[in-house]
């Protein structure tokens, strides 16, 4: 690891991409720790104990029979986990192997699927694919629960090839029909809500998929699709779009696809390659992604030490366009600039304004005094620098700092230090959140 500079801005960059935004103390800590140990911490997270978080989560009063409860549960994890990349990958898989409450209508199934995605977060793509097709939420979401011999339902078969593995253009309609036949009988037990293979529903005839003929069942199809050249490239491109930049060069896709095949579909191998690649640390990559609403919310909660039971963020995520456990359709959440329109942007910025302006201890609020922690600032500039880095923004240009400095002095004459902090300090938190830099990663 010698290709990039290791500085605090780089640590913050890594924190935005491989985690949900690093807090100032974390940036300092990992900067001192150095790149090798930092990446080891992120990537080999099975060695990082997470029991404290699990124990704390277990005693939270979240009602897991409600939609709100399971969103609170996941937000708690994202904020407090010691394995941030695990949660980041779980979010990635939630957008890949989608299922949504809107159709599944069962919080237990959604939560179980979420745990399944977490178990495989940095695991093996083949194993994940083998498990996900038997997942009850998925079976309901893409109607495989009703896919039976003689009465095939092609929904899962089509999406498996179009969205989960190879991508459109790599299979025929005949393949869709044949794959649907292979998955017949994989359904759920309606009384227990668990996976059930109903052999009387299964089509035991021969099927021809992508030119290969046999008495294929579900596992056989996964084992046929995962090693396809198209799947490697499809997944490589998707990883690069999530973690590097939106329009990765073909050479980059090829290189990551090679890792996919050489590692026998190891997610950890792919992420290791990404997080040690020149591309990841390049100027082109820095700040090149739009923060999704979950990243924005979790970063805000973590860096500004927001106190709440997470419930206020459930509807906020929805109005920002990312209702967790409820993606709009099987393609998952659209990324990039699709997150940003006039109303979602107002929701994003107003969230921070409302947090900063809440001086009570109810709802979601920032304890400003605790956040500042007794620091005194020698100058307005020093205070602004501190706040910017606290909120995860490093190296803001002097030109952009100028309006912030001007803001603090505008109308501040005669204010006591306390009043100045209460008015301009809280105002600055809001204004920093209006910077496009706060909405990019």
């Amino acid at each position: 690891m010698s290709v990039f500079r290791w500085d605090r801005e780089t640590v913050a960059h890594l924190g935005r991409r491989a985690a949900f935004g690093a807090r100032r103390e974390e940036v300092d800590y990992f900067y001192a720790l150095g790149p090798d140990k930092t990446l080891d911490f992120l990537l080999n997270d099975e060695q990082v104990p997470n029991d404290q978080m699990e124990q704390a989560l277990a005693v939270q009063p979240f009602d897991l029979s409600t939609y709100q409860g399971i969103v609170q549960w996941w937000l708690f994890r994202m904020v407090h986990t010691w394995r941030p990349l695990e949660e980041k990958m779980t979010l990635f898989w939630h957008g890949h192997f989608t299922s949504a409450m809107s159709k599944v209508q069962n919080t237990t199934m959604m939560l179980n699927q979420n745990q399944l995605l977490r178990r495989h977060a940095l695991g093996n793509f083949r194993n994940l694919s083998l498990d996900i097709y038997k997942d009850p939420a998925m079976l309901l979401w893409l109607d495989n629960a009703t896919n039976r011999v003689g009465k095939p339902n092609e929904n899962f078969a089509r999406e498996l090839m179009e969205l989960f593995t190879m991508g459109v253009g790599n299979y025929t309609e005949q393949d869709v029909r044949e794959v649907a036949r292979a998955f017949t009988g994989h359904t759920i037990d309606r009384t227990t809500g668990t996976y059930l293979f109903r052999s009387s529903w299964h089509d035991y005839g021969t099927k021809t998929v992508l030119g290969q003929t046999g008495n294929w069942d579900g596992d056989d199809i996964i084992n046929l699709l995962v090693p396809r050249e198209a799947t490697g490239r499809f997944m490589a491109r998707k990883f690069l779009k999530m973690f590097v930049y939106e329009d990765p060069e073909p050479a980059l896709i090829d290189a990551l696809a090679r890792v996919y095949f050489e590692s026998s579909y190891s997610v950890k191998a792919m992420m290791t390659w990404i997080l040690t690649s020149d591309a990841f640390y390049s100027d082109r990559a820095r700040g090149a992604l739009v923060r999704n609403p979950t990243e924005l919310v979790v970063n805000t909660i973590r860096t500004l030490e927001v106190r709440s039971d997470f419930s206020p963020f459930v509807s906020r995520l929805n109005s920002m366009g990312q209702a967790l456990f409820n993606p709009p359709d099987v393609e998952g959440f659209d990324g990039g600039m699709a997150w940003i329109n006039t109303s979602t942007l107002l929701q994003r910025v107003n969230m921070v304004n409302d947090l900063a302006g809440n001086r009570t201890t109810t709802g979601a609020y920032i304890d400003l005094a605790a956040l500042i922690g007794g620091r005194t600032f020698q100058s307005v500039e020093e205070g602004i620098d501190w706040l910017l880095e606290t909120m995860g923004i490093y190296g803001l240009s002097p030109a952009k700092k100028a309006p912030l400095i001007l803001y603090v002095s505008d109308g501040a004459a005669g204010l006591s230090y306390e009043n100045l902090m209460d008015r301009k300090g809280r105002g600055l938190i809001h204004l920093v959140a209006t910077l496009p830099d706060y909405h990019t990663a």
């Binding site: 739009v290 359709d329 600039m337 942007l345 109308g411 910077l435």
Partner: protein, 409 residues
């Protein structure tokens, strides 16, 4: 109502003005320069979520199968508001009866699509994407927006009233804002210090203007930020200066329509509105629930229609209702109705050619699930408004030719 670029920039004090990217206000500014003068046609899609029972909305009272299939839910002929010798409106739709008599309301009968799907989610998807084959990721209005009709650079060209953009608006190149209320669509500042607001707003605009010369995506976000602020101020001003000519009911549907009236009267350049109202999934004890829903609907629409007429704006507006499906012909064991297929659709406006369109499906020749067999493809009504109202290429948007139903003058 008009904002000029000059007024807008007037608040900015630093040297940031020199850094405006080329074409920043492309859309918003030309819109204001030219748009307000041209009274453009407006489409308002009103969604009845849950699957409206078309049979009890427009009742085929001469079909003997009607009373037989609905022992407790059939509405006696004496209570219906007759449209002709065979069909009568639900008694809660007195306002719709008046609009029908005035020639401003058209009923499209038997609306649906082949092999009707009984899942809310999947069937709504089909209505939104206008793709019963499920091959379209974009919405039908989104595909219209992707053709960049004149004026569509305006950030408020299409507006959803609510909190989540319906799939109908999903486009490749344009994103549609959702406005839940005037108060939520605001650039808020600390309520404790109103005196500090101008200072915060100026600082914010300065920061965004400085960011316009950044690289992707910061510059793009900054552009949307400026648009968000400008449009939110415009919506607030339009709402604040508006005096309705009628009293709108307090229902959220009526209040949503009032917000639409405010935006239309404010000349903000919006041509497509979308508003939803729910609760139509009447699986049990339908009678009262459905009566209340239709009262809410007809009172809200009537208030809006009369208000727009009084303001001289009615000629610009056509309302089209949609629902994901109708309901089963026969009632279930809970005095309710399970999911069905074909339903009725309303279209309302002074430029609507009132009357009955399409054919009412038979209540005795049903499909295998006991549901109506549709007679009118919903894409025909989409084609009618796309072509006949918005002047768009319906064939290109819908991916096929569908007959113009002729309900627009």
């Amino acid at each position: 109502m008009s904002i000029t670029r000059r007024q807008f920039i007037g608040g900015i004090t630093l040297t940031a003005i020199g850094t405006f990217g080329p074409g920043l206000f492309k859309g918003w500014e030309p819109r204001l320069a030219h748009g307000a003068a041209v009274p453009e046609k407006i489409l308002l899609v009103l969604q009845l979520s849950g699957g409206n029972d078309g049979i009890n909305t427009v009742v085929p009272f001469t079909d003997s199968a009607y009373a037989a299939a609905r022992p407790t839910l059939a509405i006696p002929e004496s209570q219906l508001l007759p449209l002709d010798g065979k069909l009568g409106l639900h008694p809660s739709l007195a306002n719709f009866k008046t609009l029908f008599d005035e020639g401003k309301l058209a009923v499209i009968q038997g609306i649906g699509y082949p092999n009707g799907i009984l899942s809310h989610f999947s069937s709504m998807d089909i209505w939104h994407t206008a793709s019963p084959e499920g091959v379209q990721a974009r919405g039908w209005l989104g595909r219209y927006l992707d053709l960049h009709p004149p004026g569509s650079e305006n950030a408020l060209f299409s507006v959803n009233i609510g909190s989540q953009v319906p799939k109908a608006f999903i486009a490749d190149t344009v994103s549609t804002p959702s406005i839940a209320s005037v108060s939520s669509y605001q650039f808020r500042t600390d309520p404790r210090y109103p005196v500090d607001r101008p200072s915060q707003v100026n600082t914010f605009l300065n920061l965004e203007n400085l960011s316009l010369s950044d690289t992707f995506p910061r510059a793009n976000i900054a552009g949307v930020s400026v648009n968000a602020y400008t449009t939110s101020e415009a919506v607030k001003a339009a709402a604040g200066s508006y005096t309705p000519s009628v009293t709108y009911p307090t229902t959220s549907l009526a209040q949503g329509l009032l917000l639409i009236a405010q935006i239309i009267a404010g000349n903000l350049g919006t041509r497509i509105f979308y508003v939803s109202t729910g609760g139509y999934d009447t699986h049990n004890n339908q009678a009262n629930t459905h009566a209340n829903l239709l009262t809410t609907l007809s009172e809200a629409v009537n208030a809006f229609q009369r208000d727009m007429e009084a303001k001289g704006l009615a000629d610009r507006i056509v309302i089209l209702t949609i629902s994901e499906f109708g309901r089963r012909v026969a009632e279930n064991g809970s005095r309710g109705l399970d999911h069905g297929t074909a339903s009725v659709q309303f279209t309302i406006g002074t430029r609507v050619r009132g009357g009955l369109y399409g054919a009412y499906p038979s209540l005795s020749k049903l499909d295998g699930n006991g549901n109506l067999v549709f007679t009118t493809d919903f894409r025909s009504s989409y084609a009618t408004v796309l072509e006949g109202w918005l002047g768009a290429d319906a064939g290109a948007i819908l991916g096929g030719t569908f007959p113009n139903l002729g309900f627009l003058t």
